[in-house]
Symmetry: C2
Subunit: 195 residues, 2 copies
Amino acid sequence: MPRVSQDHLDARRRQILDGSRSCFARYGYEGATVRRLEEATQLSRGAIFHHFKDKESLFLALAEDDATRMADVVAEQGLVQVMRNLLDASSASPALGADWLGTRLEVSRRLRTDQEFRERWAQRSEQLTAATRARLQWQKDAGNLRDDVDIDVLTAYLELVLEGLLSHLAMGLPAQHLSPVLDLVEESVRRHRTR
Amino acid sequence: MPRVSQDHLDARRRQILDGSRSCFARYGYEGATVRRLEEATQLSRGAIFHHFKDKESLFLALAEDDATRMADVVAEQGLVQVMRNLLDASSASPALGADWLGTRLEVSRRLRTDQEFRERWAQRSEQLTAATRARLQWQKDAGNLRDDVDIDVLTAYLELVLEGLLSHLAMGLPAQHLSPVLDLVEESVRRHRTR
């Protein structure tokens, strides 16, 4: 019989992820020191790095968490709904959302200069791309999607708009006017019999 | 008669802008020290800061330069063409483009936390928004624009895609597949009689 149950391990892992997420949001990637991560998670560095190899792995696990959650929403409701949720979340708690997204800006900077990090990040993003493409294929099969543009182009289009939205929100720019923009985005991938 | 001609002042200003642009691209905003700016422009700090109040003003002047050039292209050819030009420039010299855009990522971080800087930046961006709106109005009057969506929404839409593209290129991500995406963006603001 294992000394520590799987449930316990999972709960501990969740505790680390939740605590460190707010820590990264508050202090940024660089500012989230090991000491601050200990405080935020109420666990020792030994416990934290038993679950995650290093700070980067911990951060990537959070990004993976986001990607998984987004992919779940994409599968059920599509990528435009993910964007609507981001918009709602940011208007509900602008500072928190912007802080967490601001951490992604630091990731962006890192992506530019760190090849290995870029590859690890790409694996996480691929999950969202796959979910988006699958959802679009499903919509196409149901006759809801425009059929004059390749699905890969539609996928890249939606992802480009998502990048714009993430960047916009991360900069803390006003976003209340973007809801009709998302309507337009959604409509532009749909099939139209007449306009 | 003035001791220094306006032509001379303009040339000096241009020399400072060109040199400092490559300096910011190479070292980033923080890394572009006064000493490095002196080397890059081949001018003394006294000469540089005779023309620009401080490093921030110099950087904002470069951003204004970009905005003005973009606005000129927008007025003639529209915002989608600006995006196509960015795409072409980045495939012609990926590192150079990404480095300069990467500096904008640092600006993005600053935008989040510095209210005064955000206001100065907003004044620069407003120029591009105005040009985009004017161009769309012109297209609408010519009967080329869809008329079921407000021009402000179409403007915000194009700007959101631009933000996505800038972010994408700044991260140094592959972009060769984005050309048909821009076709889709362009098409989605146009009037369609049939599809």
